[in-house]
């Protein structure tokens, strides 16, 4: 029992790790702030493509989505970060993470937004067009708001997944929260910094998970 406490809940080591881990948390949030909007934008484009009437565009979009849903994000990240330099393209860890997660997140957001777009009755768009609104206006003011509302819990769940995904950035030495905690662990040979990071992830994400659960139940009933 004491060994467990000393190994996982060493407050002294946690206190020492705290500044670095908090700085890492800042980087984690920064990655999210960049990658979530980018992923939403890319996802929307791919979603629109996947419900388009243009056959080629539709298949290209679906191909894009399935490709990146099948490829593990860590493989993509390592390919970009460690593979591209062999071809003379050396990216910073942050750039590599941004590109890899943009591609991965776009695919997942696209799949969700596609379901949202398909859930809006066709008559909605037709009604908007019949009042003289352009295709873009119809999308922005009529179709998309309803689509987003219908899949809001899924969009939020995916945002939670993205926050968790940022931990992969530690593999390419980007100093986000897990990387910071892992660094202190490797110096102290003690797992408490990892527990600290885990605690912060919980503080960050548990409320979100609860809220999403409530949303889902409301929609189900």
């Amino acid at each position: 029992m004491d060994a467990i406490l000393a190994q996982f809940f060493n407050l002294e080591i946690m206190a020492k790790a705290l500044p670095l881990v908090l700085k890492g948390l800042g980087v984690t949030l920064l990655i999210c702030a960049v990658v979530i909007p980018l992923g939403l934008a890319g996802g929307l484009l791919a979603a629109l493509g996947s419900v388009s009437r243009n056959r080629a565009l539709r298949w290209a979009s679906i191909g894009f989505v399935d490709f990146f849903r099948a490829l593990p994000p860590l493989v993509l990240l390592i390919f970009i970060y460690a593979g591209l330099p062999f071809a003379g393209l050396r990216l910073s860890p942050f750039a590599a993470v941004t590109i890899a997660f943009f591609l991965n997140n776009s695919a997942y957001f696209a799949e969700i937004l596609r379901a949202g777009l398909l859930s809006v009755p066709r008559g909605q768009g037709e009604a908007a067009r019949s009042t003289g609104m352009s295709a873009t206006q119809t999308l922005a003011w009529v179709t998309l708001p309803q689509a987003v509302r219908n899949v809001l819990p899924d969009l939020l769940s995916n945002a939670v997944e993205i926050v968790k995904l940022t931990s992969l950035a530690s593999v390419v030495s980007l100093g986000e929260m897990l990387h910071a905690a892992g660094l202190v662990r490797s110096i102290t040979y003690n797992a408490s910094p990892l527990m600290l990071a885990a605690g912060l992830y919980l503080v960050l994400l548990w409320p979100l998970i609860r809220v999403i659960g409530r949303f889902e139940r409301r929609i189900a009933s």
Binding site: F8, F67, R69, V163, I209
Partner: protein, 224 residues
């Protein structure tokens, strides 16, 4: 173009490391199958246990599911791999990966199957109970089969997402596809092993991604 081929699809490198990556693929497949089977079984068992609505038990299950869904799997992998040996529990890297991803998938599967159980109409319980089936029989023979059918699409998606995470094993030295590929890449000073790894993942997972799309079109889950 030649530079590109030489870097990413170098025939000599590909030929040399293909066997290693194939070995990695076997590891990935075995781990994936085990994780899917045990994760879904454990998650379904927890959802069934929760159906008995014994307060402390349900609360424990909810807390378990919430925590395992909120934590990045990589955090758990590192905790298990680096933390446990110091308290006298040493698991191999592959075992750590298997245990962590099974626990994570079980958490998601519990929530998904539970949603299916609560979405099954009350009349199904009543019809079953009115013919004399006990609670457990009604759950097992009437409600659960419908619940599981209802949640096959989200369960499939989640199982794919989590088996893909076997790639995280590379961080602790599991000799799976990505592990083999990164080793090969550093030996060969060439990106071709990574290309091969990406291709291997696509070959393994693309069929399931496409199948999940088909399932989604065929079944409709609760509330959709």
């Amino acid at each position: 173009m030649d530079v590109f081929l030489d870097t990413f699809l170098n025939p000599a490198v590909l030929a040399k490391y293909a066997p290693a990556i194939l070995e990695g693929a076997v590891v990935t497949v075995i781990l994936s199958v085990l994780i899917v089977l045990s994760g879904i079984a454990l998650g379904t068992a927890l959802a069934c246990l929760r159906a008995y609505r014994v307060r402390p038990v349900s609360a424990l299950i909810v807390v378990y599911a919430d925590i395992l869904r909120a934590l990045p799997p990589l955090v758990l992998i590192l905790l298990f791999f680096f933390g446990l040996p110091n308290v006298g529990v040493t698991l191999s890297a592959s075992l750590v990966l298997y245990v962590v991803l099974t626990l994570v998938l079980a958490a998601f599967a519990e929530e998904i199957v539970w949603a299916g159980i609560t979405a099954t109409p009350k009349g199904q319980w009543e019809a079953a109970r009115s013919t004399g089936l006990g609670f457990t029989q009604a759950l097992g023979h009437v409600v659960l089969p419908q619940a599981v059918r209802m949640v096959i699409p989200p369960l499939t998606n989640r199982a794919i997402a989590i088996t893909k995470m076997t790639a995280l094993g590379m961080v602790i030295g599991v000799p799976d596809i990505l592990g083999q590929a990164t080793t090969a890449q550093s030996f060969s000073a060439n990106a071709s092993p990574l290309t091969l790894a990406a291709a291997a993942y696509l070959v393994l997972f693309l069929p399931f991604v496409i199948a999940s799309r088909w399932l989604e079109a065929r079944f409709s889950g609760p509330g959709g």
